[in-house]
């Protein structure tokens, strides 16, 4: 009897708690890109603090998974490191809006023991190294910008898991090298001509740290947090730039003039003297029609908050804030949510 009584009490408590959650709380679920996960989780936590009863759950399952779940209608919003294709958009029942949230970039990281200069890489050299055409560090093509490189083979390291980071990298290489574009192309999991694969940013950086004379690429936030040295890259204006946060925002500002109304734009190889060329937006994918009025209200509030207060958290987490032109444009686009 005692047991039955305590079960009854427990059941009642659970029901009461669940009932309360349904009565007062609004639960919103999203899924997608792993790259913005650190800032998204910070945002959702901060937003919850200032908006009592609102719970936003975000599963960082990868951009592809986010798009799939949004298409299947199992989440309220998605998130992706690359814009959805027309084909993908056509498969979603409700028209999907793209909202850029923050900016990220890929930086070339390297391990050159005993080399004291900072490595400088032209777009052509980067493409040729990743195509397997430049195989030695003391290749003539590299020597002009980098005197005294050693007579050692270059060990190329890339991501083995399909990722938005690889998409940005290959999207850039496709823009600067016609040979890369025709032989490999841009994608989250391309067929790499050369190199070793490491799983995740940590896999690539670990491989680069361990392998002398290696060259790979990681997210800027990851490189900053782990204090890795990364190379200078020549941008489309012919200036040498490093993947510092202001240069990444500059790339977005350079591209903002030609920003399409649906924000589906690649900003790799962007114009501008200060623009860092291997930069990218990351997007929230929001349905243009949200039937639940409570959810709609919260999502709209969150978008406004993300564009204003939310942007303050970017730098400390290794992301570049959106340029003000893009923020202004997005503020107007929020009204498209019906």
């Amino acid at each position: 009897m005692m047991i039955n009584k305590s079960i009854a009490v427990a059941t009642f408590t659970v029901l009461a708690v669940a009932g309360m959650a349904f009565a007062d709380g609004i639960q919103i679920t999203g899924a997608g890109a792993t790259f913005p996960y650190p800032i998204y989780s910070k945002w959702f936590q901060e937003f919850k603090g200032s908006h009592a009863g609102v719970e936003i759950n975000y599963q960082s399952i990868g951009s592809g998974g986010g798009i799939r779940q949004l298409t299947a209608g199992t989440v309220d919003f998605g998130a992706s490191d690359k814009p959805m294709s027309d084909d993908e958009l056509s498969k979603v029942k409700v028209h999907t809006l793209h909202f850029p949230t923050v900016l990220g970039a890929d930086v070339p990281v390297y391990n050159l023991p005993g080399y004291s200069h900072e490595l400088k890489l032209t777009p052509a050299n980067l493409a040729d190294i990743f195509l397997g055409k430049i195989t030695k560090w003391n290749d003539k093509a590299l020597a002009g910008d980098n005197p005294g490189l050693p007579d050692k083979g270059i060990i190329v390291v890339h991501r083995s898991d399909a990722s938005g980071t690889s998409f940005i990298w290959t999207d850039y290489l496709s823009k600067v090298s016609s040979e890369w574009k025709s032989k490999v192309g841009a994608g989250a999991a391309p067929n790499w001509p050369v190199g070793l694969g490491g799983k995740g940013n940590e896999g690539v950086s670990g491989q680069v740290k361990q392998q002398p004379y290696s060259l790979g690429y990681v997210e800027i936030g990851y490189a900053l947090q782990n204090k890795m040295t990364f190379a200078w890259v020549k941008n489309s204006s012919g200036a040498w730039v490093k993947g510092e946060l202001p240069n990444i925002t500059a790339a977005a500002a350079g591209a903002a003039k030609a920003m399409p109304d649906d924000y589906r734009v690649s900003i790799t190889n962007a114009p501008g003297k200060d623009a860092y060329p291997i930069s990218s937006f990351t997007w929230l994918l929001i349905p243009s029609q949200i039937s639940d009025p409570a959810k709609k209200k919260v999502i709209i509030e969150f978008l406004h908050w993300m564009l204003t207060d939310g942007q303050k958290y970017t730098a400390s987490l290794g992301y570049a804030p959106l340029p003000k032109e893009v923020v202004a444009k997005e503020e107007k686009s929020i009204s498209l949510i019906k």
């Binding site: 999991a189 067929n191 799983k199 670990g206």
Partner: protein, 320 residues
């Protein structure tokens, strides 16, 4: 017998008699779950990989291009990597595991044996991602700086076998993955082989010794042949673990979907590519091809386990 018939049916025994068919049906249903689960796996693998198989046909097995951007998918590099790493792992783990089991079962003092068995069980319980991390930080540098150059400088010059140890040295690749798999499988091989050896009746050993056999002769000629079935079972269980191992392998194999003759080169395995690409497989064909790879792995496991059964059956009949 007489006493059971004499028992007057009470409430308790009646309840027990009702319990009998209930227990029988209940446990039968649980056993039936094995069949249901297997069928469900086969059904969903077939259904979801159908797009890939119908697009590529048998070429799926023979093609060695894996290019998600162009939508070309071939399973061969992954099948090759899975088989090579598992085979080399067994080459290392079987002598080590069976040898250790013989020592623990036949030769070691009881105290030493039970202490070592505790360690073996501990090794078997270590999660694979921990093996992967340890391999990544400790094994890879050792392989790159010492083991692989040494192999290349010695065996690398031997004709034919030299091919296996040529090319660039990275520290990651088929060989390193095989070593990790060997370390991961050999606790299983020790544990089960030892049980099989201990199951051989003491009489047989005593008879051999009484006939003037040495300790080693009795072990080698009497105990081992009797425990053969159990040891083969242990090896196949180890192989099963090696074929399906994911995290530890993907961390140290280099993840290159190509076929290289050299064991020092980077490769790829089926579980590793599934772990790497499944989250971001957006196109239907890419996803279907990954599931087709899972189906291929399932098939390999069935063929190997089936082969093991046939082998056991054949040797048993020959022995009888």
């Amino acid at each position: 017998m007489a006493s059971t018939t004499a028992v007057i049916p009470t409430k308790a025994t009646q309840g027990f008699q009702v319990g009998e068919p209930v227990a029988r049906l209940g446990t039968m249903a649980f056993a039936g779950a094995i069949i249901v689960i297997t069928l469900l796996i086969v059904y969903s693998l077939t259904k979801q990989s159908w797009l890939a198989f119908s697009t590529f046909g048998l070429h799926f097995f023979a093609t060695s291009t894996w290019n998600p951007i162009a939508g070309q998918f071939g399973a061969w590099p992954f099948v090759y990597g899975t088989l090579v790493t598992s085979f080399v792992a067994l080459l290392i783990a079987v002598p080590l595991g069976v040898g250790a089991a013989i020592f623990l079962a036949e030769l070691a003092p009881a105290g030493v044996s039970s202490y070592l068995m505790f360690l073996v069980e501990l090794l078997a319980a270590v999660p694979s991602v921990i093996y992967g991390l340890l391999a990544w930080f400790m094994l890879v540098p050792v392989m790159r700086d010492y083991v692989e150059p040494a192999l290349q400088n010695t065996l690398g010059h031997v004709p034919v076998i030299g091919e296996l140890f040529g090319g660039s040295i990275y520290g990651v690749g088929y060989l390193t993955a095989s070593v990790v798999l060997a370390i991961m499988t050999f606790p299983y091989i020790i544990s089960i082989s030892r049980e099989a050896l201990l199951d051989v009746p003491v009489d047989q050993r005593e008879a051999a010794l009484a006939l003037g056999a040495t300790r080693w002769e009795s072990t080698y000629q009497i105990v081992l042949p009797n425990a053969k079935l159990g040891i083969v079972g242990a090896i196949f269980l180890g192989l099963g673990r090696a074929l399906g191992e994911t995290m530890a392998v993907t961390m140290v194999i280099g993840n290159d979907p190509a076929i290289h003759a050299s064991l020092l080169a980077a490769g790829y395995t089926i579980p590793a590519v599934l772990a790497n690409e499944f989250t971001e497989a957006t196109s239907d064909l890419h996803q279907s091809s990954l599931i087709a790879l899972a189906a291929v792995l399932f098939l390999i496991t069935i063929v190997i386990n089936g082969g093991a059964r046939l082998l056991l059956h054949a040797t048993r009949q020959k022995g009888a």
